[in-house]
Symmetry: C2
Subunit: 134 residues, 2 copies
C-alpha cells in the first residue's frame, strides 16, 4: 500500500470569505465551492490545486474538533489527507504493522469522501481519504 | 497566472530519521532523499507524494528561520509551496495587484529550486517554487 497523492490540505480559518479571497488573490485559484458540514460543525470551502484540494474549514460549533483546534492554535494548518492506492488495504496494513492500536474508524467527510484519521507524524495530523477516484 | 499544483509541503521536525520512518510507515512512502541545506541551517529529507514533494526540515542552526519556527511552535507544518503556470509573471501580477508591498526576493531552495516567499493566507506561510518543470 502507498499514498499516491495529497488528497487535500485542511486549514482552519475564522472568516471563510476573507480566507477564500486571500488564497484566490495570492495563488490565482478558481472559485471556491461552499459546503456545509454539520458533522464537523463547520462551513467548508474547497478549491482545486492540481491533483489536490485546498480545503478551508470555518467552525461555527466551538465544541467541534476544528472549533477546538481553532481556539487552541488559531488559524492555520489543520491536517494533511492523502489518497492511497487501496484505502481499505492501507488501513489493514497499518493495523497489521501495529501502526494503529485498533481498527481505524471510517467516517464520512464532505460529499461522499470516506475518511480515516491516522496517528500524527512530524507533529502533523494525518488522514486517509477515499473519494472513489484513487 | 495560477497555481497549478502543490509543489511541496514543509514540516519542521526535531529528529529527521524518526520523522522519515514515521511518514514512511504511515503513508507507505518511498525512501526519502537527504539533502544538506546550509542557507536554511537545516538537514532536509524529501519524498515524492504524487505530483508534490513532502519535505522534512530538521534545523541544526537554532537561529535559522526553521530553527526559530521549531523553537516557537514545535514540530509540525511549516509552509505550503505551490507551483505556478508562470513563476515570474505570478510574482509580477501580485506586485501589480498590491498583494506584494515590494518586488519578491527570489532565493535558492534545495537543488535548483527558485523560491519566493509570499504573504500568509489562512494563518499559513505560502511560497512559490519554480523547479524548472512548471
Amino acid at each position: 500500500m502507498a499514498a499516491t497523492r495529497i488528497h487535500h490540505l485542511n486549514f482552519v480559518v475564522r472568516d471563510l470569505d476573507a480566507a477564500c479571497s486571500r488564497f484566490r488573490l495570492l495563488l490565482g485559484l478558481e472559485e471556491f465551492e461552499r459546503i456545509d458540514h454539520a458533522p464537523r460543525g463547520s462551513h467548508i470551502a474547497r478549491a482545486r490545486l492540481g491533483e489536490s484540494w485546498l480545503v478551508l474549514v470555518c467552525p461555527y460549533d466551538p465544541d467541534s474538533v476544528p472549533g477546538r483546534h481553532l481556539a487552541e492554535h488559531g488559524e492555520g494548518f489543520f491536517l494533511l489527507s492523502v489518497g492511497s492506492d487501496d484505502f481499505d488495504r492501507h488501513l489493514a496494513d497499518l493495523l497489521a504493522r501495529k501502526a494503529l492500536a485498533a481498527p481505524a474508524e471510517v467516517r464520512s467527510g464532505i460529499l461522499d469522501w470516506r475518511i480515516a484519521d491516522l496517528p500524527t507524524a512530524g507533529g502533523a495530523m494525518l488522514q486517509l481519504t477515499d473519494d472513489g477516484r484513487d
